[in-house]
Symmetry: C2
Subunit: 337 residues, 2 copies
DNA sequence: AAAATTTACGAAAACATTGTAGTTGTTTTT
DNA sequence: AAAAACAACTACAATGTTTTCGTAAATTTT
């Protein structure tokens, strides 16, 4: 089917281009009769409106970008799924970008988007991002940004988060209440908002129960598979093995699981493990894994909803706002007392 | 930053629009001196080229669509990740669409894309799709389509698949060699190519070992959570419980796992389980799950690579071609003899 | 010195659409 | 019967870029 445009339809029908355009848009200016004819011929000739011509004119692309640190991650996928749900409702398209937790890539992607390819952005920061210039720059180009999960405090906009502090506190308290006294915290990145909040919750819980903080139990991982493995291995094989382990993210808990299997460290008898996770198979693990589960799908839906609320307007300066959707502590065998 | 276009740059510089355009594109027609000036001013004024104007002119969008039945699925996510990897290299953008295994949605999405929003499509069929008209129609609009995994035989194009028949055979043979005689096959959709091939492999293996086929052991699931649960539950609770279980897709195996846990059916002692799966936590399950693991990332990479090979040309009729990337049988505890 | 070529740039069409501002011819109002 | 209103349509500018063709001046060739 050779692509046909309004011009061809017009000549074919013996009317003007404007008439065809308006007829297809059901304008009141066009008679019912003409509309019918135009639509028939358009159908017959396989006319499809060129989206890019429209975008050029309207300066809107009906497209948003979702930027995530990694895509092979249950949490982010569920967020994308939620965002996709709303976008589909609104007849919007979703472009996916992956930063690989690399701030350089993140910067490059945001620069890419300064040209108006998308009407707005949903994003979660890379764990290596330390500056926010590239984000404020994007916003200066009039592209609104909504954060979810890994937010950037410096930027004034809407941020969809979970109750990281409370959840971190609850997770740690749960370990304590099940008998743990030497609780390690596996950190994923020192610059990440969520990590800091979760750690604060952890520290607060320790404090509440008068458990001294041991720096040696705060493990600074950095999302490098081999490095993280080594650090957690060292933690678990040593004399001073902790009796509880709180991983800030799923991946670190799974690494810990693997190491425990290798070293024949029994969970939960020798060490109890809890983590933030959206793993569908948490209940099927050996042993089933106690998790703090984030409402990922809802977070994606909410993030998209907030963005769309602003997209209609001319100057879409999004008000600063923290939207908190609570996580759920799901107790399973890995923390059995 | 107010958006600035070529026209403004031109007036600012006192040259013509064409000169600016060419200078920014490093055309040989422009002197080094002018280029430098133009670029400086462009930088200073924050010029960003409008992608849609370019698309309008070139009739290319530098965008491809990836259409998957579901997104919260390890296999599809890894495929997307692979495709994304290649797309990023080629400076292409990726639009994601989800059919929810609903053929109506699939048709709607493909109709959507007839307008040239994307230059090409990578897709995996929905399990409820029975006709292929919407796909050939899209191709008639000159949008090339490459299939991966859930391919459509009727369409002449490139198809990236794994060795489903051989893998189905190997999986079944593996169960037989570990002592199973009553092996159930969990089918996900009767219309899906991969399901049929895997089942053929299953039947072939039974035949090789002179094991009679029992229709009651071929369970026709349909991707509806509740329905599938019920069917598998009935299979496992009855008198005639099989001693081996081969699930065509991960989800069904996980449902079977849950049911076994509930009914206290011991894996692998009472029933051995194997399935196609890209679960990262397969080795951590209780018991660890024997899988046939598809090279999902590579399949995504390959699918994108094939598509890009054709995208350069004017009439991108993709030759019919089956590209097979072999799966790997990873033996774990769920099939221990 | 005339002719040919090269360098560096500009004008304008083309891409497909939308929206505004006409322009008819007809109908209604005064 | 003139004026106003209206229905149905068209012309054209505008959106931002690319690209082809053209042209003047400068340079090289004969």
């Amino acid at each position: 089917m050779p692509k046909v445009n309004l011009k061809e339809l017009a000549t074919q029908l013996g009317v003007s281009i404007s008439t065809v355009s308006k007829a297809l848009k059901d304008s009141y200016e066009i008679s019912a009769e003409t509309k019918k004819k135009v639509k028939e011929v358009a159908e017959k000739m396989g006319y499809r409106t060129n989206p890019y011509a429209g975008h050029l004119h309207s300066n809107r692309s009906k497209t948003i970008a979702v930027i995530v640190p990694e895509i092979t991650n249950n949490f982010f996928i569920q967020v994308i799924s939620g965002a996709q749900f709303i976008a589909h409702e609104k007849d919007y398209h979703i472009l996916i970008y992956v930063t690989d937790d690399n701030c350089k890539k993140e910067e490059a992607i945001l620069r890419y988007l300064q040209n108006g390819r998308v009407d707005g952005v949903l994003m979660s920061l890379s764990s290596t991002t330390k500056k926010s210039d590239h984000i404020s720059e994007l916003i200066q180009f009039n592209i609104p940004v909504v954060f979810f999960d890994r937010i950037c405090h410096e930027i004034e906009t809407a941020k969809i988060i979970t109750d990281d502090f409370a959840s971190g506190f609850n997770a740690t308290e749960h370990l304590i209440q099940n008998g743990c006294r030497e609780i390690a915290y596996l950190s994923i990145s020192e610059t990440l908002s969520i990590d800091n909040k979760r750690k604060q919750g952890y520290l607060e819980a320790l404090s509440k129960y008068d458990i001294p903080v041991k720096e040696s139990l705060i493990i600074k991982c950095n999302n490098d598979e081999r490095n993280d493995y080594k650090k957690i291995f060292q933690l678990l094989q040593g004399e001073q093995r902790p009796d509880g382990l709180f991983a800030s993210v799923e991946k670190l808990a799974l690494t810990a699981y693997k190491i425990c299997h290798e070293l024949k460290i029994k969970i939960p008898e020798m060490v109890k493990i809890i983590c933030f996770s959206n793993l569908r198979t948490a209940s099927l693990l050996n042993p089933s894994l106690t998790t703090i589960t984030q409402p990922a799908f809802e977070m994606g839906r909410e993030a998209a909803a907030v963005l769309f609320k602003y997209l209609g307007r001319k100057h879409a300066q999004i008000h600063n706002e923290n939207i908190v959707i609570k996580s759920e502590l799901i107790i399973r065998d890995s923390t059995r007392g």
